[in-house]
Amino acid sequence: MRPQIDGVDFAVDEHIWGHRLYDEQLPHLTVLEFLGVLGSNADNPLIATPDETVRYRPQRQIRLRGLLFNNPYVESVHERAQSDEDKWKQWGALFAGDATGIGDDNMVYLRKAFTSFDDFAKSIELLRSSAFEARSNKRWSSKFVFPFGPDALYEDLRVDSGGASNDRRFFARTGEILYLMLCRAKRGPELGQKLVERLYDAGAPMNRLVKALQGEPQLAQDSRPVGYLPFATHPRFDRLCDDWLAILSRDMPIYDALEHLIASAGLNLLLYFLERAKAQAGDSDPVELVCEIVSRERTKVRALSGDSYQANQALSLRAVRTAVEQIRLDEDWAAALVSDDPQGECLQMMRAWFQWPPTKDDEEADHTLKTGDELVRELVEKATSRHEQHFGKIHAAWSRSIGLSSRRLSRRTRYAPNDRLLKTLVIAIVDDRMQFDEFLQEARRRYGIVIGDTEGARLIKERQVDQEALSDNSANLEKRLMGLGLVRKLSDSCSFVENPFIAEGSE
């Protein structure tokens, strides 16, 4: 029996991937939402069986985010040649003018926290400099301070005269899904413990600064359940969890590790999205990402990586179509068709599977008069058109966001990983050092990334590309990684990929 999903017109994508993945919730926003769920469950982090309902009560931190992102006056007041007293007064008046009234009407505590207005202004500037998208033109309530610690986390909100509400604009439950995935990974609890230790240190200096600005935390009114993830286990959940554990074990500051956690989450979520689409469409081949390593010279791999991108882009729509159409292959459907009331039975079955057609039929069409096939056709149409609005854009949006795809030097989008993603791959894969060819194999095994001729043997066999082009491609990667200080060349024939953040004590 499929669970009921609230707030949707019908449930198709939701049963393929979960409720829900959302294109505009880019990986960093996903991780921020995830951290909110984790923070609310810090006593029991990443521990929940698939049957349990995970709940959380996010923070809102209206004062903190107002000070950082809805406070354009602080610089101009700071620059005025006036007494400290006057600066506080003038700023206070200006800030009050824009205040939301949600706990931000009395800010006098700031004067006690900071010795001078200038110190206050400097602190604001510091926090803005590391914030996510501080300069973008997003609404101020969708901008986020760097997650320095427990006091720096809050949910995305819409704030207007009616108060504050979560409109799921950027926190659309993908972070909740991430939380569930990691709960269901074999080493989830171990990861949960480590994340809480490293990221929820209330005493970390930057967290204390944030707390000085925010004061006591502001919470959402109620706790709420997280979204729905259809699978109790999945190899991708374990891969994601192991990657995160590997990244956290490296000898680097936690705030740096976060960048790699985000990229790794993005990559693994993207692969989950593609793998699920493939499986749903009945394609059992592993997902492949043929990557061009961009170099000065144009290569044959460019066209190939473009094709690979296009092929993967098409997967999810096909999955949606099959997800609906497969109802006709079910034996109950066959039984329904030969029953006394084929239309009614099919309708019932459609409802059980897809929560559609709606029971209260306020649409012009009367679904009870339609045949099963007509219903299927209609839902395919609705589902594919809804899919194209958001779910269908996930591959493009996320792969660009993590630096996997690009249009550099070309009109066509293709897989062409950037330096940051390559660095994340090395940090996640390489414990201390690894021969270069092994690294390529491992990237293929874990993420389906095809770069060299060994990994692309199938493509060579099918004559899609010649061996030389792919081996040049891997030579380009070797050069790129060398440029990033991640490859040490022993001689012409032998190079090693090295993790610059080898864990303490392993060397």
């Binding site: 006690k112 926290a113 900071f114 010795t115 110190d119 400097k122 602190s123 510091l126 926090l127 400099s129 590391s130 914030a131 760097f146 320095f148 240190d201 005493g203 200096p205 930057m206 204390r208 600064l209 707390k211 000085a212 006591e216 000898d251 680097m252 500051p253 936690i254 705030y255 740096d256 976060l258 960048e259 050092r433 021969q435 060819d437 092994e438 060398m482 440029g483 990033l484 200080g485 040490r488 060349k489 022993l490 001689s491 012409d492 024939s493 032998c494 090693f496 610059p500 953040f501 303490e504 060397e507």
Partner: protein, 630 residues
């Protein structure tokens, strides 16, 4: 004069056979995979004395075997390091016959005087899987098992042996126990089992190898034949002999060879490996190179033509060093020319040097310097054709005004810049020779390196420049401080360009176990920069100072970093910075735990240290206190 080169011709110049033999060492297009075998044959045909290089490694190999110590030998190296040469010499030294060596068997056995059997594999890559499995099986038994009767002498390049060990591991469904120790030995980061002797030929000191090659080639007795050569009579200049003389360094007191040695040394420390075969090719090319010769390399028979054509300077040794006589592709095939090209000598210059080369002949202020540095060399310096080209360029003849009209002069200018690099006097301050390269601070680097090697103090100028560079990279601010190092963060990601928050500071010199120290890494023989934030081994992070990283820091310190400068260095620096921040993070949390027992003054106030800059560029830390008590 006979135009067909042949040592047997009565009319041929006296050194023809020798020059032809030397030419075969040069960067010709033939891909000589079987180089050792080839040279052995060529030597017989030319009937000249061989070019002999001592091999300290060979003696050690012999000693190891003669000592009777059990276990096997691995001769590792990259192409051209002389693996086959060493293997063959060792074979003959142990009593193997040259005939057996030349035979087709890939695996050869020789019984030693002490009754042990040495099994030779001169090239692991030639073996099929079964042969290779046998050989590696013996390797393992003789090293880790109790096999004392037989042992292996195997030559392989680094990648091959590691791959073979990995493959055999896959087939046997286990991890071969020799793979990790051998890999670590190659990377100089671990102990090798006692019964395995690894001779890594790519580890030899390059400067010494170069000196030895130059002596063996330029000082070869066959050159004596040139003394009677008609091509050198009546004031004629033979470019071959001229280049050989310059290489020998009788005129310049060895400056040329020393500068070349510097380039090779700096290349090595930058991670280039220059096999002996490449150094031999370089030596042959320096002497025989000429742009108008077949394959870019002269034979004696070409010399008269070159002399008559007045184009001797097109075989300038200073161009030949960089393979300018070769088609670019062919030069790029050789590691040594790629390494030397990375110095940008010829393209890099200073205003002073170019002023001298362009206006020097006319400008009275420059006349003296011009005659001293350029005019003094009538063969490769101020040649009549150079002076003519210079005049044409300056007087703006019509041809020079056309597009590319000056191109020819620019090529000559490059040649002159190269010459200046090799000929400017050591202490010339107006025209420092390192300024003619992309590594303007390489002189300082070598000075620092040798100071560390001799356990002397590093010059204050160098040290403070390094600290200034380091501080600028750490903070992203143009600060001048040379007395302390700011370990700075932006609060968030280390990658952020500007970091104004000072996590901690360390003095610029090591005092009481804290601060920055310059040291020599015993394995790599490279200087390292070690910053300790706390006493003890856990409190410090180390940064290998390659010449290119040193250059990067110095240029950042001087505020003149070209945009094209390697991104690699910045990445390396950011990784180092991240490591220091991690140390600071760990120390910070340790300190917190220590303080927990005391009165919690820390709990009520938080101090953030901002880095601010004075007008003078001096950075200082300004604490901002935030009260965090409710």
């Amino acid at each position: 004069m006979n135009a067909t080169p042949s040592g047997q011709d009565a009319g041929a110049p006296p050194s023809s056979a020798w020059v032809r033999f030397l030419r075969s060492y040069g960067p010709t297009p033939n891909d000589l995979n079987l180089f050792d075998e080839y040279v052995t044959g060529a030597l017989g045909r030319a009937k000249v004395q061989p070019i002999t290089l001592t091999s300290p490694q060979l003696e050690k190999m012999k000693q190891r075997i003669e000592s009777g110590a059990p276990g096997s030998l691995l001769i590792a190296g990259t192409a051209g390091d002389g693996k086959t040469y060493h293997c063959r010499s060792l074979w003959i030294g142990l009593g193997g016959s040259p005939r057996d060596w030349a035979g087709p068997a890939q695996v050869k056995k020789v019984t030693l005087a002490d009754g042990r059997i040495a099994i030779f594999v001169k090239d692991l890559s030639e073996l099929n899987d079964d042969q290779s499995d046998d050989a590696l099986g013996l390797l393992e038994r003789s090293v880790l098992g109790g096999e004392d009767k037989e042992f292996l002498v195997v030559a392989a390049n680094h990648g091959q042996i590691l791959e073979r060990l990995r493959d055999i591991g896959f087939r046997q469904n286990r991890t071969n126990p020799l793979r990790k120790p051998i890999q670590d030995a190659f990377l100089l980061s671990g102990l090798v089992p006692e019964r395995l002797a690894i001779f890594d030929l790519s580890r030899t000191a390059h400067r010494q190898s170069l000196e030895e090659v130059l002596t063996a080639v330029a000082g070869h007795p066959e050159w004596g034949n040139c003394l009677d050569c008609a091509l050198r009579s009546a004031g004629r200049i033979c470019p071959i002999f001229e280049n050989r003389e310059r290489l020998l360094g009788l005129q310049d007191g060895g400056v040329f060879a020393r500068r070349l040695g510097d380039l090779v040394e700096v290349s090595k420390l930058n991670g280039w490996h220059l096999p002996v075969r490449d150094l031999l090719a370089l030596a042959a090319n320096m002497i025989l190179g000429h742009r108008d010769a077949r394959e870019g390399l002269l034979a004696c028979a070409d010399v008269a033509r070159i002399q008559d054509g007045g184009v001797i300077e097109r075989g300038s040794i200073y161009d030949n060093v960089f393979g300018a006589n070769l088609p670019r592709r062919r030069a790029n095939d050789r590691q040594v020319f790629r390494a030397l090209a990375s110095f940008g000598i010829g393209e890099e210059t200073s205003n002073g040097a170019d002023g001298l080369l362009v206006y020097g002949a006319d400008d009275t202020k420059l006349t003296e310097a011009f005659s001293q540095f350029v005019g003094n060399d009538a063969i490769y310096g101020a040649t009549p054709s150079y002076l003519a080209a210079q005049r044409a360029y300056l007087e703006g003849e019509e041809a020079a005004r056309l597009d590319n009209g000056a191109a020819q002069f620019l090529v000559r200018l490059e040649a002159q810049r190269r010459r200046l690099f090799f000929t400017l006097p050591e202490n010339e301050t107006d025209y420092p020779f390192w300024a003619m390269t992309a590594f303007r601070f390489a002189g300082d680097y070598l000075e620092m390196s040798s100071a560390l090697f001799e356990r002397k103090a590093v010059s204050e100028t160098i040290r403070s420049r390094l600290v200034r560079g380091l501080n600028r990279v750490m903070t992203g601010l143009l600060i001048e401080n040379a007395d302390r190092i700011f370990v700075a963060s932006s609060g968030g990601f280390t990658q952020s360009r500007i970091s104004v928050l000072c996590d901690t500071e360390a003095p610029a010199r090591r005092v009481g176990g804290i601060g920055m120290a310059l040291r020599l890494d015993v394995h790599t023989e490279r200087p390292t920069l070690d910053v300790a934030l706390a006493q003890g081994s856990g409190g410090s992070a180390t940064f290998n100072l390659t010449p290119v990283r040193f250059e990067f820091l110095c240029r950042v310190a001087e505020g003149s970093l070209p945009g094209s400068f390697s991104n690699e260095c910045l990445e390396d620096m950011l990784a180092f910075k991240a490591k220091l921040l991690r140390k600071a993070e760990l120390l910070g949390s340790a300190r917190l735990t220590d303080d927990e027992g005391e009165a919690g003054s820390d709990e009520e106030a938080l101090t953030l240290t901002f880095i601010e800059i004075e007008q003078s560029g001096h950075g200082f830390s300004r604490p901002v206190t935030v009260r965090t008590a409710p």
